[in-house]
């Protein structure tokens, strides 16, 4: 593929289609080969962006505003890299996870392929309407993956998720319609110089609606209601993809618009997301601490961890805040994928997913237990994990601007995360109930969970590389 930017969108579309044609449950190898190639392309792209600045591609050769431009700056390249490599881990996991007769397996590969295509297309899009289409691509694929498990709970969760996603993208589309009405274009690059603080009132309304829609899709408190049932109810590999990547996509878009075309308007509303983020941290952590089952615990933790992402908005005047946001996206994505993967291992081993039920199994699945430990370090922001670097930068940015309450929230949130993480971990040390059956689990499951968790910690040593990459701005 000549241009990695294009290849990253076309490849998953291609193998997803192939997987569907091959038939229900088939296509794992096509998927793995495709994702491996994508991972390599993302690597090429990151190198290219790091060396030569923003990569661009004018689809159809027309160029914006008539045509659609694709573009990748450091932020896009970083997220593409994260998406492909994380997907590679989840795909390896999923290949061993689904039992032969599992209904969730029938259309997993094509749906996952379209999901990845949607994510990649979203990260390289530079056109507001094209972004709407990618949002729908991601949203519907995600709903399909949740629903595919087929249980009553999952279907109900998927329906709730679908309505939230549709409401979110509807709000976004309405905003886009207003923007096109005002300026006559939807190309981000063309819009950026046009929007000024003196913009007509309609632009403010449009920005607000788009932000609201994206916030609903990112499950920011109080719009988080759809997330715990969906992420907590889906099969483990699906939960991993959703919690790690899908919610990040709409956050990415919000950040991109906030820092990009809408930057002149943004400061007016900077504290609102931060306040909601703080509420999300406390409420999500509290529910995670109280949860009795493992996957809902992890899903509530996602609600809390997403809160950190929104704390950065009043701090964006300091570069460290942007770094904190991206680092948190990476840290949480890797750690959360690892946690859901590990939860899947325990569920397969014990046939149930209560936290208390881990007592017998944890000692016999040490690799998985370590995965939870390492991922937990990242979530609680303990050094030397990537989560710690995110927390460090967040606190530093908060102090630099004198907004110390944000630093306090970050520290308190870390302690609350430690509480729910250790609630799980300590089960490993409890005296096991005698004779609890523990089924054999494929080793690939345990080790992929571990690899993801280890990556979330090891990234803590390579913060400089990531920060250098995301400094390449459009």
């Amino acid at each position: 593929m000549a241009d990695p930017l294009v290849g990253l969108v076309l490849l998953p579309l291609g193998w997803a289609t192939l997987a569907f044609v091959l038939g229900p449950g088939r296509g794992a190898w096509a998927a793995l080969a495709g994702i491996a190639a994508q991972a390599w392309l993302a690597w090429l792209l990151a190198a290219q962006v790091g060396a030569g600045g923003t990569a661009r591609h004018a689809v159809g050769g027309w160029g914006a505003p008539l045509g659609i431009d694709l573009a990748a700056d450091g932020l896009s390249a970083a997220l593409l890299l994260l998406t492909q490599w994380l997907a590679l881990g989840v795909a390896l996991y999923a290949r061993s996870y689904f039992a032969a007769g599992d209904p969730a397996r029938r259309y997993f590969w094509p749906l996952a392929g379209f999901l990845l295509a949607g994510l990649n297309a979203l990260f390289v899009a530079n056109d507001l309407f094209n972004l709407y289409v990618t949002l729908e691509l991601v949203g519907l694929a995600a709903v399909g993956l949740v629903a595919a498990a087929g249980g009553e709970r999952q279907i109900a969760a998927a329906l709730r998720y679908l309505f939230a996603a549709l409401a979110g993208s509807g709000l976004y589309l309405f905003g886009v319609a207003l923007v096109y009405g005002v300026y006559g274009t939807v190309s981000i690059a063309t819009l950026a110089p046009l929007i000024t603080p003196e913009a007509p009132r309609l632009v403010w309304i449009a920005g607000g609606l788009m932000a609201l829609g994206l916030v609903v899709k990112s499950a920011l408190f109080p719009f988080h209601f759809w997330l715990p049932p969906a992420h907590g109810g889906a099969p483990a590999p699906v939960s991993a993809l959703l919690s790690a990547l899908v919610v990040k996509a709409s956050f990415y878009l919000l950040l991109r618009l906030w820092l990009g075309p809408f930057a002149p308007l943004a400061p007016a509303a900077a504290w609102l997301p931060a306040l909601l983020g703080a509420a999300a941290i406390f409420w999500g952590s509290w529910r995670a601490i109280r949860a009795e089952r493992l996957k809902p615990l992890i899903a509530w933790s996602t609600v809390a961890q997403l809160g950190y992402l929104f704390l950065i908005f009043p701090l964006l005047a300091v570069p460290a805040a942007f770094g904190a946001g991206v680092m948190q996206v990476f840290a949480h994505a890797l750690a959360k994928a690892a946690l859901f993967a590990a939860a899947g291992v325990f569920i397969q081993a014990t046939g149930q997913d209560t936290v208390a039920g881990l007592a017998g199994a944890a000692a016999r699945l040490p690799v998985t237990l370590f995965a939870i430990g390492l991922a937990g370090m990242t979530l609680a922001g303990l050094p030397p994990s990537a989560g710690f670097l995110a927390k460090w930068q967040l606190i530093e940015a908060a102090l630099a601007l004198g907004h110390w309450p944000i630093a306090v929230v970050a520290l308190a949130g870390g302690l609350m995360a430690a509480v729910y993480v250790f609630r799980v971990l300590r089960q490993a040390f409890c005296l096991a109930p005698a004779g609890a059956p523990v089924a054999a689990v494929p080793r690939a499951l345990e080790w992929t969970a571990f690899a993801l968790a280890a990556a979330s910690v090891l990234l803590g040593f390579f913060g400089v590389d990531l920060m250098t990459l995301i400094e390449v701005r459009a």
Binding site: H57, F114, N130, L137, A147, P200, L202
Partner: protein, 217 residues
């Protein structure tokens, strides 16, 4: 209480946005001129088709993927075998039988017309789908079960063709960059493929769904 709050919010939103709409001046950029200027190079003479399949063809490519996703998700949640169709009145069946070839003709016309005037793959596909739904409703076409290989190929062919062409055109320098001379033909080929697949997909949205007739207890 909640109702009242939402109602007030909605009213405020309408007044605020409506007010802002009315006082709006002219747009900074007008794409109409650019569309008209490049129309000759697009391969078709109908501007909407030019935008849909050339200038913003990438949107359309992804949009077909959205349809496929919805179809996949529906397949993933409905796993029951199709129920036997309930035959309608013979007269209705006769009408439907007669209407089907006519609708196919209409679809072909719409597809062909799309290059110059209103019409195109979406409308044509919708008409095909409508024909299938009609046949199903009068009991002549059973609901679809898990799709076999041929149906899967049919559902994806249009998209796969579009995707393959888009990728092949990378050799021209960019994704979906038609060589001006061949643009019209290529667009027609893509639209033809899309018409078949869209017809099948849109029909599938109905026919796969309508499997759980009679309920499940």
């Amino acid at each position: 209480m909640k109702r009242l709050a939402v109602f007030c919010l909605a009213c405020a939103f309408v007044v605020l946005t409506g007010g802002a709409l009315i006082e709006l001046g002219p747009a900074a950029i007008d794409l109409r001129g650019q569309v008209a200027a490049q129309l000759a190079a697009s391969g078709v003479s109908h501007p909407v088709t030019a935008v849909l399949l050339n200038f913003r063809g990438y949107d359309t490519l992804l949009e077909v993927a959205v349809l496929l996703i919805a179809l996949l998700a529906i397949l993933a949640v409905t796993d029951k075998p199709p129920a036997a169709p309930v035959p309608a009145h013979p007269l209705l069946q006769a009408v439907a039988r007669g209407a089907t070839p006519a609708m196919i003709l209409v679809a072909v016309y719409l597809l062909w017309a799309g290059a110059h005037r209103p019409g195109g793959a979406f409308q044509a596909g919708a008409v095909l789908a409508a024909a299938a739904v009609l046949l199903h409703l009068v009991g002549l076409l059973p609901g679809w079960g898990a799709p076999g290989l041929r149906l899967r190929l049919g559902l994806t062919a249009g998209f796969a063709l579009f995707l393959a062409l888009a990728a092949a055109l990378l050799s021209q320098g960019a994704l979906l960059q038609y060589p001006p001379a061949a643009a019209g033909t290529l667009i027609l080929v893509i639209e033809a493929g899309l018409t078949v697949s869209l017809g099948l997909i849109l029909a599938g949205l109905f026919l796969f769904l309508s499997r759980d007739e009679g309920g499940e207890t």
